[in-house]
Subunit: 145 residues, 4 copies
Amino acid sequence: MKTPADPQFADRIRDSFARQKAMALIGARLATVVPGMVEVALPFRDDLTQQKGFVHGGIIGMIADNACGYAAYSLMPADCTLVTAEYKINLLASATLSLVARGEVVKAGRTLTVARAEVYAVDGTHIATMQQTLMMLPGRSDHRE
Amino acid sequence: MKTPADPQFADRIRDSFARQKAMALIGARLATVVPGMVEVALPFRDDLTQQKGFVHGGIIGMIADNACGYAAYSLMPADCTLVTAEYKINLLASATLSLVARGEVVKAGRTLTVARAEVYAVDGTHIATMQQTLMMLPGRSDHRE
Amino acid sequence: MKTPADPQFADRIRDSFARQKAMALIGARLATVVPGMVEVALPFRDDLTQQKGFVHGGIIGMIADNACGYAAYSLMPADCTLVTAEYKINLLASATLSLVARGEVVKAGRTLTVARAEVYAVDGTHIATMQQTLMMLPGRSDHRE
Amino acid sequence: MKTPADPQFADRIRDSFARQKAMALIGARLATVVPGMVEVALPFRDDLTQQKGFVHGGIIGMIADNACGYAAYSLMPADCTLVTAEYKINLLASATLSLVARGEVVKAGRTLTVARAEVYAVDGTHIATMQQTLMMLPGRSDHRE
Protein backbone atom coordinates (compact mmCIF):
# COMPACT_ATOMS: atom_id res chain seq x y z
CA MET A 1 0.00 0.00 0.00
CA LYS A 2 1.28 3.46 -0.87
CA THR A 3 1.76 6.27 1.64
CA PRO A 4 -0.70 9.15 1.37
CA ALA A 5 0.62 12.74 1.55
CA ASP A 6 -2.52 13.79 3.45
CA PRO A 7 -3.63 11.56 6.37
CA GLN A 8 -7.20 12.84 5.88
CA PHE A 9 -7.27 11.66 2.26
CA ALA A 10 -10.27 9.36 2.77
CA ASP A 11 -12.47 12.09 4.23
CA ARG A 12 -11.39 14.47 1.50
CA ILE A 13 -12.33 11.92 -1.17
CA ARG A 14 -15.67 11.00 0.39
CA ASP A 15 -16.54 14.69 0.63
CA SER A 16 -15.54 15.33 -2.99
CA PHE A 17 -17.44 12.30 -4.29
CA ALA A 18 -20.56 13.36 -2.37
CA ARG A 19 -20.51 16.69 -4.24
CA GLN A 20 -20.59 14.93 -7.63
CA LYS A 21 -24.24 15.21 -8.61
CA ALA A 22 -23.58 13.10 -11.70
CA MET A 23 -22.72 10.16 -9.43
CA ALA A 24 -26.01 10.57 -7.58
CA LEU A 25 -27.81 10.70 -10.93
CA ILE A 26 -26.51 7.28 -11.97
CA GLY A 27 -26.65 5.80 -8.46
CA ALA A 28 -22.91 5.18 -8.08
CA ARG A 29 -21.34 5.06 -4.64
CA LEU A 30 -17.83 5.04 -3.24
CA ALA A 31 -17.13 1.49 -2.02
CA THR A 32 -13.43 1.39 -1.06
CA VAL A 33 -10.91 4.14 -0.36
CA VAL A 34 -7.33 3.17 0.46
CA PRO A 35 -4.08 4.90 -0.51
CA GLY A 36 -3.63 4.53 -4.26
CA MET A 37 -6.80 2.45 -4.79
CA VAL A 38 -10.47 3.38 -4.94
CA GLU A 39 -13.52 1.32 -5.86
CA VAL A 40 -16.78 2.75 -7.19
CA ALA A 41 -19.88 0.53 -7.17
CA LEU A 42 -22.77 0.89 -9.60
CA PRO A 43 -25.99 -1.07 -8.98
CA PHE A 44 -27.69 -2.11 -12.23
CA ARG A 45 -30.61 0.08 -13.27
CA ASP A 46 -32.61 -0.11 -16.46
CA ASP A 47 -32.28 3.64 -17.04
CA LEU A 48 -28.50 3.29 -17.41
CA THR A 49 -28.77 1.14 -20.53
CA GLN A 50 -28.24 1.61 -24.25
CA GLN A 51 -30.43 0.35 -27.10
CA LYS A 52 -29.81 -3.36 -26.45
CA GLY A 53 -30.40 -3.25 -22.70
CA PHE A 54 -26.70 -3.30 -21.70
CA VAL A 55 -25.21 -0.70 -19.37
CA HIS A 56 -24.14 2.21 -21.61
CA GLY A 57 -20.40 2.23 -22.36
CA GLY A 58 -20.26 5.88 -21.37
CA ILE A 59 -21.71 5.07 -17.95
CA ILE A 60 -19.03 2.41 -17.53
CA GLY A 61 -16.53 5.09 -18.50
CA MET A 62 -17.96 7.41 -15.82
CA ILE A 63 -17.32 5.03 -12.93
CA ALA A 64 -13.92 3.96 -14.24
CA ASP A 65 -13.00 7.64 -14.67
CA ASN A 66 -13.97 8.37 -11.07
CA ALA A 67 -12.19 5.30 -9.71
CA CYS A 68 -8.96 6.39 -11.43
CA GLY A 69 -9.39 10.02 -10.40
CA TYR A 70 -9.94 9.34 -6.73
CA ALA A 71 -7.17 6.74 -6.64
CA ALA A 72 -4.87 9.48 -7.92
CA TYR A 73 -6.34 12.03 -5.51
CA SER A 74 -5.72 9.69 -2.54
CA LEU A 75 -1.96 10.21 -2.92
CA MET A 76 -2.07 14.00 -3.40
CA PRO A 77 -1.60 16.72 -0.76
CA ALA A 78 -4.61 18.30 0.93
CA ASP A 79 -4.51 21.69 -0.77
CA CYS A 80 -4.92 20.73 -4.40
CA THR A 81 -7.43 19.61 -6.93
CA LEU A 82 -6.94 17.56 -10.07
CA VAL A 83 -8.27 17.34 -13.60
CA THR A 84 -8.58 14.36 -15.89
CA ALA A 85 -6.39 15.12 -18.88
CA GLU A 86 -7.46 12.07 -20.87
CA TYR A 87 -8.49 8.46 -20.65
CA LYS A 88 -8.73 5.43 -22.91
CA ILE A 89 -11.14 2.60 -22.23
CA ASN A 90 -11.56 -0.82 -23.82
CA LEU A 91 -14.98 -2.37 -23.45
CA LEU A 92 -14.47 -6.13 -23.06
CA ALA A 93 -17.95 -7.54 -22.49
CA SER A 94 -21.59 -6.45 -22.37
CA ALA A 95 -22.80 -5.47 -18.90
CA THR A 96 -26.21 -6.51 -17.63
CA LEU A 97 -25.42 -6.64 -13.91
CA SER A 98 -24.18 -4.40 -11.12
CA LEU A 99 -20.60 -3.25 -11.59
CA VAL A 100 -17.52 -2.32 -9.58
CA ALA A 101 -14.74 -0.14 -10.99
CA ARG A 102 -11.38 -0.48 -9.23
CA GLY A 103 -8.93 2.34 -9.91
CA GLU A 104 -5.24 2.10 -9.06
CA VAL A 105 -2.31 4.44 -9.41
CA VAL A 106 0.36 3.27 -11.85
CA LYS A 107 2.70 6.25 -11.42
CA ALA A 108 2.25 9.31 -9.25
CA GLY A 109 4.47 12.01 -10.73
CA ARG A 110 4.98 15.59 -9.59
CA THR A 111 2.43 16.99 -12.04
CA LEU A 112 0.93 14.01 -13.84
CA THR A 113 -0.47 10.81 -12.41
CA VAL A 114 -1.19 7.74 -14.50
CA ALA A 115 -3.91 5.45 -13.22
CA ARG A 116 -5.72 2.36 -14.41
CA ALA A 117 -9.18 0.98 -13.72
CA GLU A 118 -10.66 -2.47 -14.13
CA VAL A 119 -14.44 -2.79 -14.23
CA TYR A 120 -15.99 -6.11 -13.21
CA ALA A 121 -19.59 -7.29 -13.05
CA VAL A 122 -20.73 -8.90 -9.81
CA ASP A 123 -20.54 -12.33 -11.48
CA GLY A 124 -16.82 -11.75 -12.10
CA THR A 125 -16.99 -10.88 -15.81
CA HIS A 126 -14.26 -8.46 -16.83
CA ILE A 127 -16.23 -5.61 -18.40
CA ALA A 128 -13.72 -2.88 -19.17
CA THR A 129 -10.16 -1.65 -18.67
CA MET A 130 -9.10 2.00 -18.60
CA GLN A 131 -5.78 3.85 -18.70
CA GLN A 132 -5.93 7.47 -17.58
CA THR A 133 -3.75 10.57 -17.19
CA LEU A 134 -4.52 13.16 -14.50
CA MET A 135 -2.94 16.51 -13.73
CA MET A 136 -2.60 17.90 -10.21
CA LEU A 137 -3.41 21.58 -9.74
CA PRO A 138 -1.51 22.57 -6.57
CA GLY A 139 -3.01 25.24 -4.31
CA ARG A 140 -6.36 25.09 -6.12
CA SER A 141 -9.65 24.26 -4.44
CA ASP A 142 -11.59 21.10 -5.18
CA HIS A 143 -14.83 23.08 -4.61
CA ARG A 144 -16.86 25.38 -6.85
CA GLU A 145 -15.00 28.66 -7.31
CA MET B 1 -20.71 13.48 -47.80
CA LYS B 2 -20.35 9.72 -47.77
CA THR B 3 -22.79 7.26 -49.31
CA PRO B 4 -24.86 5.24 -46.85
CA ALA B 5 -25.29 1.49 -47.45
CA ASP B 6 -28.85 1.70 -46.11
CA PRO B 7 -31.08 4.54 -47.40
CA GLN B 8 -33.13 4.31 -44.19
CA PHE B 9 -30.05 4.93 -42.02
CA ALA B 10 -31.48 8.07 -40.37
CA ASP B 11 -34.68 6.34 -39.23
CA ARG B 12 -32.65 3.39 -37.99
CA ILE B 13 -30.40 5.69 -35.96
CA ARG B 14 -33.24 7.77 -34.52
CA ASP B 15 -35.01 4.58 -33.48
CA SER B 16 -31.86 3.15 -31.88
CA PHE B 17 -31.06 6.40 -30.03
CA ALA B 18 -34.63 6.59 -28.71
CA ARG B 19 -34.15 3.15 -27.10
CA GLN B 20 -31.09 4.37 -25.16
CA LYS B 21 -32.51 5.03 -21.72
CA ALA B 22 -29.16 6.40 -20.58
CA MET B 23 -29.53 9.24 -23.09
CA ALA B 24 -32.96 10.10 -21.66
CA LEU B 25 -31.46 10.02 -18.17
CA ILE B 26 -28.90 12.71 -19.00
CA GLY B 27 -31.24 14.66 -21.32
CA ALA B 28 -29.20 14.19 -24.50
CA ARG B 29 -30.89 14.34 -27.89
CA LEU B 30 -29.94 13.52 -31.45
CA ALA B 31 -29.43 16.83 -33.27
CA THR B 32 -28.02 15.97 -36.70
CA VAL B 33 -27.91 12.73 -38.69
CA VAL B 34 -26.20 12.71 -42.06
CA PRO B 35 -24.11 9.97 -43.68
CA GLY B 36 -20.88 9.66 -41.73
CA MET B 37 -21.67 12.49 -39.27
CA VAL B 38 -23.94 12.66 -36.24
CA GLU B 39 -24.38 15.39 -33.64
CA VAL B 40 -25.65 14.81 -30.09
CA ALA B 41 -26.78 17.83 -28.06
CA LEU B 42 -26.71 17.99 -24.26
CA PRO B 43 -28.44 20.89 -22.47
CA PHE B 44 -26.61 21.91 -19.29
CA ARG B 45 -28.14 20.55 -16.08
CA ASP B 46 -26.79 20.86 -12.58
CA ASP B 47 -27.27 17.13 -11.92
CA LEU B 48 -24.71 16.30 -14.64
CA THR B 49 -21.84 17.95 -12.78
CA GLN B 50 -18.83 16.83 -10.78
CA GLN B 51 -17.54 18.26 -7.50
CA LYS B 52 -16.59 21.67 -8.91
CA GLY B 53 -19.83 22.27 -10.81
CA PHE B 54 -18.46 21.38 -14.26
CA VAL B 55 -20.15 18.80 -16.49
CA HIS B 56 -18.68 15.41 -15.48
CA GLY B 57 -15.98 14.21 -17.86
CA GLY B 58 -17.73 10.84 -18.07
CA ILE B 59 -20.93 12.53 -19.22
CA ILE B 60 -18.93 14.31 -21.93
CA GLY B 61 -17.56 10.90 -22.84
CA MET B 62 -21.10 9.51 -23.10
CA ILE B 63 -22.26 11.99 -25.74
CA ALA B 64 -18.97 11.80 -27.67
CA ASP B 65 -19.21 7.99 -27.57
CA ASN B 66 -22.73 8.11 -29.00
CA ALA B 67 -21.84 10.68 -31.66
CA CYS B 68 -19.00 8.45 -32.87
CA GLY B 69 -21.11 5.30 -32.68
CA TYR B 70 -24.03 6.62 -34.67
CA ALA B 71 -21.74 8.29 -37.22
CA ALA B 72 -20.24 4.83 -37.77
CA TYR B 73 -23.68 3.19 -37.80
CA SER B 74 -24.91 5.64 -40.47
CA LEU B 75 -22.62 3.99 -43.04
CA MET B 76 -23.43 0.38 -42.11
CA PRO B 77 -25.97 -1.94 -43.74
CA ALA B 78 -29.47 -2.32 -42.28
CA ASP B 79 -29.10 -5.80 -40.80
CA CYS B 80 -26.29 -5.29 -38.33
CA THR B 81 -25.46 -3.85 -34.98
CA LEU B 82 -22.18 -2.50 -33.69
CA VAL B 83 -20.17 -2.41 -30.48
CA THR B 84 -17.71 0.17 -29.23
CA ALA B 85 -14.39 -1.63 -28.92
CA GLU B 86 -12.59 1.29 -27.26
CA TYR B 87 -12.28 5.04 -27.14
CA LYS B 88 -9.80 7.65 -25.96
CA ILE B 89 -10.87 11.14 -24.96
CA ASN B 90 -8.88 14.25 -24.13
CA LEU B 91 -10.68 16.78 -21.97
CA LEU B 92 -9.57 20.22 -23.15
CA ALA B 93 -11.58 22.69 -21.05
CA SER B 94 -14.10 22.73 -18.19
CA ALA B 95 -17.72 22.66 -19.31
CA THR B 96 -20.35 24.84 -17.64
CA LEU B 97 -22.69 25.25 -20.62
CA SER B 98 -24.79 23.18 -22.99
CA LEU B 99 -22.71 20.96 -25.27
CA VAL B 100 -22.75 19.47 -28.75
CA ALA B 101 -20.71 16.39 -29.67
CA ARG B 102 -20.03 15.96 -33.40
CA GLY B 103 -18.96 12.48 -34.44
CA GLU B 104 -17.41 11.74 -37.83
CA VAL B 105 -16.17 8.61 -39.52
CA VAL B 106 -12.42 8.60 -40.18
CA LYS B 107 -12.28 5.15 -41.81
CA ALA B 108 -15.10 2.70 -42.40
CA GLY B 109 -13.49 -0.71 -42.77
CA ARG B 110 -15.11 -4.09 -43.37
CA THR B 111 -15.12 -5.02 -39.69
CA LEU B 112 -13.71 -2.01 -37.81
CA THR B 113 -14.68 1.63 -38.13
CA VAL B 114 -12.58 4.44 -36.70
CA ALA B 115 -14.45 7.60 -35.75
CA ARG B 116 -13.66 10.88 -34.06
CA ALA B 117 -15.78 13.30 -32.06
CA GLU B 118 -15.28 16.93 -31.14
CA VAL B 119 -17.30 18.34 -28.26
CA TYR B 120 -18.00 22.07 -28.18
CA ALA B 121 -19.81 24.28 -25.69
CA VAL B 122 -22.47 26.60 -27.09
CA ASP B 123 -20.06 29.54 -26.69
CA GLY B 124 -17.64 27.80 -29.06
CA THR B 125 -15.17 26.50 -26.46
CA HIS B 126 -13.52 23.26 -27.56
CA ILE B 127 -14.31 20.93 -24.66
CA ALA B 128 -13.08 17.50 -25.71
CA THR B 129 -11.79 15.37 -28.56
CA MET B 130 -12.31 11.61 -28.89
CA GLN B 131 -10.87 8.88 -31.10
CA GLN B 132 -12.89 5.65 -31.18
CA THR B 133 -12.83 2.13 -32.64
CA LEU B 134 -16.10 0.31 -33.37
CA MET B 135 -16.77 -3.21 -34.58
CA MET B 136 -19.66 -4.13 -36.87
CA LEU B 137 -21.58 -7.30 -36.01
CA PRO B 138 -23.22 -8.35 -39.30
CA GLY B 139 -26.57 -10.11 -39.18
CA ARG B 140 -27.08 -9.23 -35.53
CA SER B 141 -30.01 -7.24 -34.19
CA ASP B 142 -29.63 -3.76 -32.70
CA HIS B 143 -32.50 -4.62 -30.29
CA ARG B 144 -32.63 -6.51 -27.01
CA GLU B 145 -32.17 -10.21 -27.66
CA MET C 1 -1.07 -19.65 -17.64
CA LYS C 2 -3.53 -19.71 -20.52
CA THR C 3 -3.97 -22.60 -22.93
CA PRO C 4 -2.70 -22.01 -26.47
CA ALA C 5 -4.90 -23.04 -29.43
CA ASP C 6 -1.80 -24.04 -31.36
CA PRO C 7 0.81 -26.18 -29.55
CA GLN C 8 3.48 -24.83 -31.93
CA PHE C 9 2.72 -21.24 -30.96
CA ALA C 10 6.26 -20.50 -29.74
CA ASP C 11 7.91 -21.61 -32.99
CA ARG C 12 5.33 -19.67 -34.96
CA ILE C 13 6.08 -16.51 -32.96
CA ARG C 14 9.86 -16.87 -33.13
CA ASP C 15 9.61 -17.34 -36.88
CA SER C 16 7.34 -14.31 -37.28
CA PHE C 17 9.53 -12.10 -35.07
CA ALA C 18 12.63 -13.13 -37.03
CA ARG C 19 10.99 -11.84 -40.23
CA GLN C 20 10.48 -8.36 -38.69
CA LYS C 21 13.35 -6.39 -40.20
CA ALA C 22 12.39 -3.39 -38.08
CA MET C 23 13.23 -5.39 -34.94
CA ALA C 24 16.68 -6.21 -36.35
CA LEU C 25 17.18 -2.52 -37.16
CA ILE C 26 16.67 -1.45 -33.56
CA GLY C 27 18.36 -4.54 -32.07
CA ALA C 28 15.30 -5.93 -30.26
CA ARG C 29 15.06 -9.63 -29.52
CA LEU C 30 12.38 -11.98 -28.30
CA ALA C 31 13.20 -12.87 -24.69
CA THR C 32 10.23 -14.86 -23.36
CA VAL C 33 7.37 -16.64 -25.11
CA VAL C 34 4.72 -18.34 -23.01
CA PRO C 35 0.95 -18.63 -23.63
CA GLY C 36 -0.55 -15.17 -23.24
CA MET C 37 2.75 -13.44 -22.33
CA VAL C 38 5.72 -12.35 -24.41
CA GLU C 39 8.77 -10.29 -23.48
CA VAL C 40 10.84 -8.25 -25.93
CA ALA C 41 14.28 -7.04 -24.83
CA LEU C 42 15.99 -3.95 -26.21
CA PRO C 43 19.66 -3.31 -25.38
CA PHE C 44 20.43 0.41 -25.07
CA ARG C 45 22.05 1.97 -28.12
CA ASP C 46 22.87 5.59 -28.69
CA ASP C 47 21.29 5.55 -32.15
CA LEU C 48 17.87 4.81 -30.60
CA THR C 49 17.73 8.14 -28.77
CA GLN C 50 15.93 11.43 -29.16
CA GLN C 51 17.33 14.94 -28.76
CA LYS C 52 18.08 14.64 -25.05
CA GLY C 53 19.79 11.25 -25.21
CA PHE C 54 16.80 9.22 -23.93
CA VAL C 55 15.45 6.23 -25.84
CA HIS C 56 12.90 7.63 -28.31
CA GLY C 57 9.30 7.21 -27.14
CA GLY C 58 8.40 5.75 -30.52
CA ILE C 59 11.08 3.07 -30.11
CA ILE C 60 9.59 2.24 -26.70
CA GLY C 61 6.24 2.03 -28.45
CA MET C 62 7.69 -0.39 -31.02
CA ILE C 63 8.78 -2.98 -28.48
CA ALA C 64 5.61 -2.61 -26.40
CA ASP C 65 3.56 -2.98 -29.59
CA ASN C 66 5.38 -6.19 -30.48
CA ALA C 67 5.14 -7.59 -26.94
CA CYS C 68 1.35 -7.07 -26.99
CA GLY C 69 0.99 -8.40 -30.51
CA TYR C 70 2.89 -11.62 -29.94
CA ALA C 71 1.21 -12.18 -26.57
CA ALA C 72 -2.10 -12.03 -28.45
CA TYR C 73 -0.75 -14.20 -31.27
CA SER C 74 0.35 -16.87 -28.75
CA LEU C 75 -3.30 -17.72 -28.04
CA MET C 76 -4.48 -17.75 -31.66
CA PRO C 77 -4.86 -20.74 -33.98
CA ALA C 78 -2.08 -21.67 -36.41
CA ASP C 79 -3.75 -20.56 -39.64
CA CYS C 80 -4.25 -16.87 -38.98
CA THR C 81 -2.49 -13.57 -38.83
CA LEU C 82 -3.33 -10.47 -36.84
CA VAL C 83 -3.23 -6.70 -37.18
CA THR C 84 -2.81 -4.05 -34.53
CA ALA C 85 -5.98 -1.98 -34.63
CA GLU C 86 -4.75 0.63 -32.18
CA TYR C 87 -2.68 1.23 -29.09
CA LYS C 88 -2.29 3.84 -26.39
CA ILE C 89 0.93 4.31 -24.46
CA ASN C 90 1.79 6.40 -21.43
CA LEU C 91 5.45 7.25 -21.06
CA LEU C 92 6.23 7.25 -17.34
CA ALA C 93 9.97 7.94 -17.10
CA SER C 94 12.94 8.75 -19.33
CA ALA C 95 14.86 5.71 -20.53
CA THR C 96 18.65 5.67 -20.62
CA LEU C 97 19.18 1.94 -20.11
CA SER C 98 18.32 -1.37 -21.73
CA LEU C 99 14.60 -2.15 -21.67
CA VAL C 100 12.22 -5.08 -21.47
CA ALA C 101 8.62 -4.88 -22.67
CA ARG C 102 6.29 -7.49 -21.21
CA GLY C 103 3.02 -7.96 -23.10
CA GLU C 104 0.05 -9.84 -21.64
CA VAL C 105 -3.39 -10.70 -22.92
CA VAL C 106 -6.22 -9.02 -21.02
CA LYS C 107 -9.06 -10.52 -23.05
CA ALA C 108 -8.87 -12.86 -26.03
CA GLY C 109 -12.13 -12.47 -27.91
CA ARG C 110 -13.32 -14.19 -31.07
CA THR C 111 -12.23 -11.32 -33.31
CA LEU C 112 -10.58 -8.75 -31.05
CA THR C 113 -7.90 -9.28 -28.43
CA VAL C 114 -7.03 -6.65 -25.82
CA ALA C 115 -3.49 -6.76 -24.50
CA ARG C 116 -1.32 -4.68 -22.22
CA ALA C 117 2.41 -4.10 -22.01
CA GLU C 118 4.64 -2.79 -19.25
CA VAL C 119 8.09 -1.55 -20.17
CA TYR C 120 10.81 -1.60 -17.52
CA ALA C 121 14.44 -0.51 -17.56
CA VAL C 122 16.99 -3.02 -16.30
CA ASP C 123 17.29 -1.03 -13.06
CA GLY C 124 13.58 -1.64 -12.40
CA THR C 125 12.28 1.81 -13.42
CA HIS C 126 8.77 1.62 -14.86
CA ILE C 127 9.19 3.30 -18.24
CA ALA C 128 5.85 2.92 -20.02
CA THR C 129 2.48 1.22 -20.02
CA MET C 130 0.46 0.33 -23.12
CA GLN C 131 -3.11 -0.80 -23.79
CA GLN C 132 -3.69 -2.31 -27.23
CA THR C 133 -6.43 -3.74 -29.44
CA LEU C 134 -5.64 -6.41 -32.03
CA MET C 135 -7.80 -8.06 -34.67
CA MET C 136 -7.38 -11.68 -35.74
CA LEU C 137 -7.60 -12.38 -39.48
CA PRO C 138 -8.56 -16.07 -39.69
CA GLY C 139 -7.29 -18.11 -42.62
CA ARG C 140 -4.81 -15.42 -43.63
CA SER C 141 -1.07 -15.92 -43.87
CA ASP C 142 1.36 -14.19 -41.53
CA HIS C 143 3.87 -14.04 -44.44
CA ARG C 144 4.29 -11.64 -47.36
CA GLU C 145 1.50 -12.22 -49.86
CA MET D 1 -2.05 29.86 -38.72
CA LYS D 2 -1.25 30.20 -35.04
CA THR D 3 1.19 32.73 -33.59
CA PRO D 4 4.45 31.28 -32.25
CA ALA D 5 5.75 32.49 -28.87
CA ASP D 6 9.31 32.23 -30.17
CA PRO D 7 10.03 33.75 -33.62
CA GLN D 8 12.99 31.34 -33.97
CA PHE D 9 10.76 28.31 -33.47
CA ALA D 10 11.64 26.76 -36.85
CA ASP D 11 15.40 26.86 -36.22
CA ARG D 12 14.87 25.49 -32.73
CA ILE D 13 12.82 22.57 -34.11
CA ARG D 14 15.23 21.79 -36.96
CA ASP D 15 18.08 21.76 -34.47
CA SER D 16 16.20 19.49 -32.05
CA PHE D 17 15.13 17.09 -34.79
CA ALA D 18 18.72 16.88 -36.09
CA ARG D 19 19.83 15.68 -32.64
CA GLN D 20 17.34 12.77 -32.72
CA LYS D 21 19.55 9.84 -33.69
CA ALA D 22 16.50 7.58 -33.85
CA MET D 23 15.17 9.67 -36.75
CA ALA D 24 18.46 9.24 -38.62
CA LEU D 25 18.28 5.49 -37.96
CA ILE D 26 14.92 5.15 -39.70
CA GLY D 27 15.67 7.78 -42.37
CA ALA D 28 12.94 10.24 -41.37
CA ARG D 29 13.32 13.93 -42.17
CA LEU D 30 11.54 17.12 -41.21
CA ALA D 31 9.52 18.22 -44.24
CA THR D 32 7.38 21.18 -43.09
CA VAL D 33 7.61 23.45 -40.05
CA VAL D 34 4.97 26.14 -39.59
CA PRO D 35 3.39 27.41 -36.36
CA GLY D 36 1.20 24.65 -34.97
CA MET D 37 1.88 22.18 -37.81
CA VAL D 38 4.86 19.97 -38.62
CA GLU D 39 5.28 17.27 -41.23
CA VAL D 40 7.75 14.39 -40.98
CA ALA D 41 8.53 12.39 -44.13
CA LEU D 42 9.65 8.76 -44.14
CA PRO D 43 10.93 7.19 -47.37
CA PHE D 44 10.03 3.50 -47.63
CA ARG D 45 12.84 1.12 -46.74
CA ASP D 46 12.69 -2.64 -46.49
CA ASP D 47 14.44 -2.62 -43.10
CA LEU D 48 11.50 -0.70 -41.57
CA THR D 49 9.05 -3.54 -42.15
CA GLN D 50 7.35 -6.17 -40.04
CA GLN D 51 6.83 -9.84 -40.85
CA LYS D 52 4.48 -9.26 -43.81
CA GLY D 53 6.59 -6.58 -45.49
CA PHE D 54 4.51 -3.60 -44.32
CA VAL D 55 6.06 -0.65 -42.52
CA HIS D 56 6.08 -1.57 -38.80
CA GLY D 57 3.24 0.05 -36.86
CA GLY D 58 5.73 1.21 -34.25
CA ILE D 59 7.75 3.01 -36.94
CA ILE D 60 4.54 4.72 -38.06
CA GLY D 61 4.00 5.65 -34.42
CA MET D 62 7.52 7.14 -34.27
CA ILE D 63 6.97 9.64 -37.07
CA ALA D 64 3.46 10.52 -35.89
CA ASP D 65 4.83 11.02 -32.36
CA ASN D 66 7.49 13.39 -33.67
CA ALA D 67 5.06 15.29 -35.90
CA CYS D 68 2.77 15.90 -32.91
CA GLY D 69 5.66 16.76 -30.61
CA TYR D 70 7.26 19.33 -32.87
CA ALA D 71 3.87 20.83 -33.79
CA ALA D 72 3.37 21.39 -30.05
CA TYR D 73 6.93 22.65 -29.63
CA SER D 74 6.44 25.21 -32.43
CA LEU D 75 4.05 27.19 -30.21
CA MET D 76 6.14 27.03 -27.04
CA PRO D 77 8.58 29.65 -25.71
CA ALA D 78 12.31 29.35 -26.44
CA ASP D 79 13.50 28.34 -22.99
CA CYS D 80 11.61 25.10 -22.46
CA THR D 81 11.54 21.48 -23.45
CA LEU D 82 8.63 19.09 -23.60
CA VAL D 83 7.84 15.45 -22.94
CA THR D 84 5.27 13.19 -24.54
CA ALA D 85 2.91 12.15 -21.75
CA GLU D 86 0.98 9.67 -23.87
CA TYR D 87 -0.38 8.94 -27.31
CA LYS D 88 -2.99 6.75 -28.93
CA ILE D 89 -2.75 5.63 -32.54
CA ASN D 90 -5.19 3.84 -34.81
CA LEU D 91 -3.62 1.99 -37.72
CA LEU D 92 -6.03 2.31 -40.65
CA ALA D 93 -4.26 0.60 -43.56
CA SER D 94 -1.09 -1.36 -44.32
CA ALA D 95 1.82 0.78 -45.48
CA THR D 96 4.07 -0.32 -48.34
CA LEU D 97 5.08 3.12 -49.58
CA SER D 98 6.80 6.28 -48.37
CA LEU D 99 4.85 8.13 -45.69
CA VAL D 100 4.20 11.62 -44.41
CA ALA D 101 2.99 12.31 -40.86
CA ARG D 102 1.30 15.68 -40.37
CA GLY D 103 1.02 16.80 -36.76
CA GLU D 104 -1.25 19.66 -35.69
CA VAL D 105 -1.98 21.31 -32.36
CA VAL D 106 -5.56 20.83 -31.15
CA LYS D 107 -5.20 22.80 -27.91
CA ALA D 108 -2.11 24.52 -26.52
CA GLY D 109 -2.66 24.85 -22.77
CA ARG D 110 -0.39 26.36 -20.15
CA THR D 111 1.07 23.01 -19.15
CA LEU D 112 -0.46 20.42 -21.48
CA THR D 113 -0.79 20.51 -25.23
CA VAL D 114 -3.04 18.15 -27.16
CA ALA D 115 -2.00 17.39 -30.72
CA ARG D 116 -3.10 15.11 -33.50
CA ALA D 117 -1.30 13.50 -36.41
CA GLU D 118 -2.51 12.01 -39.66
CA VAL D 119 -0.19 9.68 -41.55
CA TYR D 120 -0.65 9.31 -45.30
CA ALA D 121 1.13 7.21 -47.89
CA VAL D 122 2.38 9.00 -51.00
CA ASP D 123 -0.52 7.50 -52.99
CA GLY D 124 -2.97 9.26 -50.63
CA THR D 125 -3.96 6.25 -48.51
CA HIS D 126 -4.81 7.24 -44.96
CA ILE D 127 -2.46 5.04 -42.92
CA ALA D 128 -2.92 6.14 -39.30
CA THR D 129 -4.36 8.74 -36.95
CA MET D 130 -2.87 9.72 -33.60
CA GLN D 131 -4.08 11.74 -30.61
CA GLN D 132 -1.34 12.85 -28.22
CA THR D 133 -0.80 14.70 -24.93
CA LEU D 134 2.43 16.61 -24.29
CA MET D 135 3.67 18.44 -21.22
CA MET D 136 5.81 21.58 -21.38
CA LEU D 137 8.76 21.76 -18.97
CA PRO D 138 9.44 25.50 -18.62
CA GLY D 139 13.03 26.66 -18.04
CA ARG D 140 14.41 23.22 -18.92
CA SER D 141 16.88 22.57 -21.70
CA ASP D 142 15.99 20.55 -24.80
CA HIS D 143 19.60 19.26 -24.86
CA ARG D 144 21.36 16.43 -23.01
CA GLU D 145 21.83 17.43 -19.39
